[in-house]
Symmetry: C2
Subunit: 651 residues, 2 copies
């Protein structure tokens, strides 16, 4: 019978997340993350009760060691066991002290699948985890399933001491070196830029090899490879990637916008792996803030629930929750907000029920870090990040309170979905909103300030953006923020595509779509103009030349392929094609297209169990969806969309 | 410089405890424990700040992968790094997803040792763990250091189908098979008894081998080996053991008592390993109740703090504490009581400070399992064990309340030692004592009953023994218990040496030493008379022949080498040689020897930083100790003992 490898639900995701987080290298040193890694359960029992329809046989395969109890009689693994027709109880015991404990039954009458369960500490049944890809006795659950593809370099240049290979665009994969001189001491220097690859002292990723005629070097990101020590060595790469379907698309009359969309989609592709990593070259870690943004972008491109679910599990780990996600206060809060947005998008009630207790312990941890006014503060080695920007973080930080407010709101709604309604979250959110306005809103600035304890009054975009995004600012405040902060060139500009994504989302919410358009055509275009094939971690138009590649005090530490910068996918899908869910799982949704200065826009937005296709020009609007519940909003009018029927409007 | 492998404190102990718990085999199946296994931290940072006296070099060795930050500059492992004379900060980052993350610095000017620390979630410094044995770059921290010794069988008997080898007494170690016929299909059947080894269908441990001329089979316990399938194969064994010093000794005029003491000491030897395991053959698991008893016995034999400390860490695991130790309510409570007894014996304040938070979370878990009267009850799959005996466990079980009372008392005292005094524990203990007396004491029985909710009134020895041991019974109650329960043959006899140990300890406390003596000469002697070389898991004098080997429904499942039966070591040391601490770490202690029916007793009791030697006959008492603080109590008189001076009294 069709059978799958089964494991303790969540442990597969955690196991692979840990592998992801433990692959960072830099200047030939291994760089572990600086936060706690949670691990899989080492000792697991799988239960099942079943009516077996015919006499048959079974064999237990384990990743680990253990046995099976058939009606309380113990049998070893890897031996054929007879099962008689009739009702039986099964219990698989498996431990694995170094890997992922999992089991597979090979049988003509029985299978391991979603009918098996484990029990949590309270004895509650939890359905096991399994993945369709692991469906044979020889499948290796510790190996993630990627796709592979050979690629060649597009140009090769001899320099004084070595050879520079250009692969045409940033890629991620294995590097093969062949026809090498066995005695040569070869330095392989990787670069996202040619300058980085050529600088064997400061290229972030490099490796010294010798002793063989051919090499296969581990998976890394690069566009350029510079080889010193053997001028005749041949190279090629083998891409490793997750074959996700790009269900979303976007095209318009402005080539720059199309190029930006494609650059962003390609950036996401390189960062979509076991989980969403933040960047392809450097950390390749799972970061909570980055992930929160990427989830939104991904929704308009892949609509793949699984990579998000894996990322959410990997980020949160297990209990005790005694350290913020990535040690960052904001990142814990984003995680909770992500859960709600995940639910609204994919309507995965089972997962919310599973993860809800972990959200509760996270929020308890946060509550232990509130001051006498109810504001969340940093304790010990907590990191208040917000953004790479000059925010006054000397005391209670306003932006964090905005996130805390939204997290509390989300928790209240999640508690209802998990059937554990808890009004405390709602009440706490209401109180916090009042406090935020009392302590941080300054009429004289017409804005929220960073920090009420500081002697100087500092206004940055960040808290004000959140105030708009999460509904903390009222109508008058929004107007004031828009005028005094967002459109005010005297307020320091955002320098990360990360936070620019938030700013533009806020602008989208207040329907300032032109601001989004202009920013794409200036800020993102700026990267394209530098020759970027992927979006940068940080981009400051004031810099020039290789200054663009420097970060964290080093010449080439900046990531030139950073998924947090891919917001145009989201912004164009949500505010130009205009598709948004208005009930969980798109039970109802709106389509509110916006053309602006463009001649036409055209694209597809994936939604749950369906899609929406939009074409809009000055002459015509065509909308088609295969899902019911859609409402078109255009020029102040609302139209119900009939599934599978083209809705056409001529102007 | 002399350097050691360092790790996150406690993780070495946990790592090896997990290995111990995952080695059980039975009828050729692997049998994992049925409780949760906690694991090591996967990602660790070691910190140190030091004044380096001369220019030098260092090389970082890791068990895992990572790097070192010298004054915030990152360097890879396994490379020579220069350190200049002067003050430096060091930070080693190491992860290991499958083993024990640990680090070793090889250097002429720097070493890894107890001057390094990690930080806990609150940022508090925790001194790293290290062991003297791991002091070279090539030392393997994942391998525990045992001693090895070759032993030969003492007799060999051909049977109809095979050959039976007798090693003369129970041993533990590798089995070597040589001169085997490569084509033979050999069945190797292990036995603690000859009957077990010869029964290839029901011997608990056996292995089928073929294809080689020589084999080395994994470590197991056995006295007999039966080989079928190759009559010419040669065998020998290689003992694996922990070379602990037997500091305690006992000898007296009764050879049976001496044989019992030796049998008990040998049983402990076979069970003293990475941690104290319960028995040599079957589970070889770390069990909390067994360990609690064994700690007491071990104190009078080895006085080895380390194996107890390792066992305490291994038993408790980490947080969240969401399942009782071994799933057994009593075993969690024993663990807390053990901590206090460990402190009193070894006065290891640092360890108590380290472990105290884990005792708190354990006690919080217990408190969540109290009913409206404050009694601890079972929830979900909690196992109320107490003993293999017919105790009425249908409701609130009295024996558990006795242990809970003592655990609360110990927690109060531990809270003081850990400098976190918490009077709640004391108050809760007092209330519980009142409740126990109100609900469980029945004047009509003159005893504590098992269960107040039951319709039948059931009195067993167990709760009453604890009432005496832990000072719950007052003087009148003790007298009543002694008469109505302990000396009452109508109350079901104890059938495990485990609980017999508790009974005799209670008898010792009420100075009924003759009862102890008589029980040794009957109950323990009964095992000797059966030919035992080690103490049994259970012993019921009413059984005969191979009935003695049966347990858990199987012919040979009983363990014939079970450390929980070694109480005579303790009883003879504490109540006959008479040595007890009266202050932590034997700052003061008493020597109160008892001769009883014996002609003479003679022995040594190890104490902290010293020992006490006692000789007592009808004519003479000689006591000598090398530690100050001792008081001799004999015939109602008290004498101060002068260190290193023989105290002699002639009668």
């Amino acid at each position: 019978m069709k059978s799958y490898w089964i494991w303790n639900y969540g442990d597969y995701e955690l196991f692979h997340s840990n592998l992801v987080n433990c692959r960072r290298q830099q200047y030939e040193a291994e760089v572990p993350p600086f936060w706690k890694l949670y691990d899989v359960e080492r000792n697991v029992i799988f239960f099942c009760e079943k009516e077996i329809e015919n006499d048959g046989v079974m064999k237990l395969h384990l990743n680990g060691k253990g046995c099976i109890m058939l009606d309380d009689i113990r049998y070893p693994s890897d031996e054929e066991i007879k099962i008689a027709k009739g009702y039986h109880t099964f219990k698989i015991c498996v431990f694995n002290l170094s890997g992922l404990p999992s089991a597979y039954i090979e049988s003509d009458v029985l299978s391991t699948d979603g009918s098996w369960y484990t029990k949590n500490a309270e004895g509650k049944k939890i359905t096991v985890g399994f993945e369709k890809a692991y469906d044979s006795p020889s499948a290796d659950v510790e190996k993630f399933n990627f796709s592979y593809e050979r690629v060649e370099f597009v140009s090769r240049t001899k320099t004084e001491k070595g050879v520079l290979f250009d692969f045409g665009k940033e890629i991620f994969g294995f590097l093969y070196i062949e026809n090498a001189n066995k005695d040569a001491k070869i330095c392989v220097s990787y670069g996202e830029s040619a300058e980085e690859a050529l600088d064997t002292k400061w290229s972030v990723i490099r490796e010294h090899i010798s002793g063989s005629e051919s090499y296969k070097l581990r998976q890394r990101a690069f566009r350029y490879i510079y080889i010193e020590g053997d001028l005749d060595a041949e190279v090629y790469a083998e891409l490793e990637y997750l074959p996700l379907n790009e269900l979303g698309s976007f095209e318009c009359s402005n080539k720059t916008i199309n190029d930006i969309w494609n650059m962003c989609a390609y950036t996401l592709k390189l960062c979509a792996r076991e989980v969403f990593i933040e960047g392809a070259k450097r950390d390749r870690w799972l970061w909570g803030g980055d992930a929160y943004q990427i989830f939104k972008f991904s929704k308009y491109l892949y609509f793949d629930k699984e990579i998000i679910r894996r990322s959410l599990i990997g980020l949160r780990g297990k209990d005790p929750f005694d350290q913020h996600i990535n040690t960052i206060t904001d990142y814990s809060l984003y995680w909770v907000i992500s859960l709600w947005e995940y639910y609204m998008t994919y309507e995965d009630v089972e997962f919310i029920k599973f993860i809800y207790p972990k959200a509760v312990s996270l929020m308890n941890f946060c509550k232990d870090r509130t001051n006498e006014h109810g504001f969340i503060i940093a304790k010990g080695e907590d990191w208040i990040f917000v953004d790479w920007s000059e925010i006054d973080k000397s005391g209670v930080v306003c932006a964090e309170q905005m996130l805390y407010y939204e997290a509390l709101n989300c928790m209240y709604k999640l508690s209802q979905i998990a059937k554990e309604e808890n009004a405390d979250y709602k009440n706490q959110a209401e109180r916090l909103k009042t406090q935020i306005n009392e302590f941080f809103w300054k009429d004289e600035c017409g804005a929220f300030i960073d920090n009420y304890e500081s002697e100087t009054v500092n206004v940055t975009r960040h808290a004000n953006i959140f105030a708009v995004m999460y509904g903390i600012a009222n109508r008058e405040q929004i107007y004031s923020i828009s005028e005094n902060v967002l459109k005010n060139d005297n307020i320091t500009k955002i320098t990360t595509p990360y936070f620019e994504g938030y700013e533009l989302d806020a602008m989208g919410q207040i329907e300032n779509f032109e601001y989004i358009y202009d920013m794409l055509c200036s800020y993102w275009k700026g990267m394209l103009d530098l020759g970027a094939t992927t979006v940068y971690e940080e981009y400051d138009p004031k810099l020039s030349g290789i200054e663009h590649y420097a970060m964290y005090g080093d010449k080439f530490q900046k990531s030139l392929c950073h998924a947090w910068g891919a917001s145009p996918i989201y912004l164009l899908g949500k505010y130009f094609l205009g598709v948004s869910e208005t009930e969980a799982g798109y039970e109802s949704f709106t389509v509110k297209p916006y053309l602006g200065k463009l001649e036409f826009i055209k694209g597809t937005v994936p939604i749950k169990d369906g899609k929406v296709e939009v074409f809009l020009s000055k002459e015509k609007l065509v909308v088609k969806t295969d899902k019911k519940g859609g409402t078109l909003i255009i020029n102040g009018n609302r139209y119900s969309l009939t599934p599978d029927e083209e809705f056409v409007l001529r102007f």
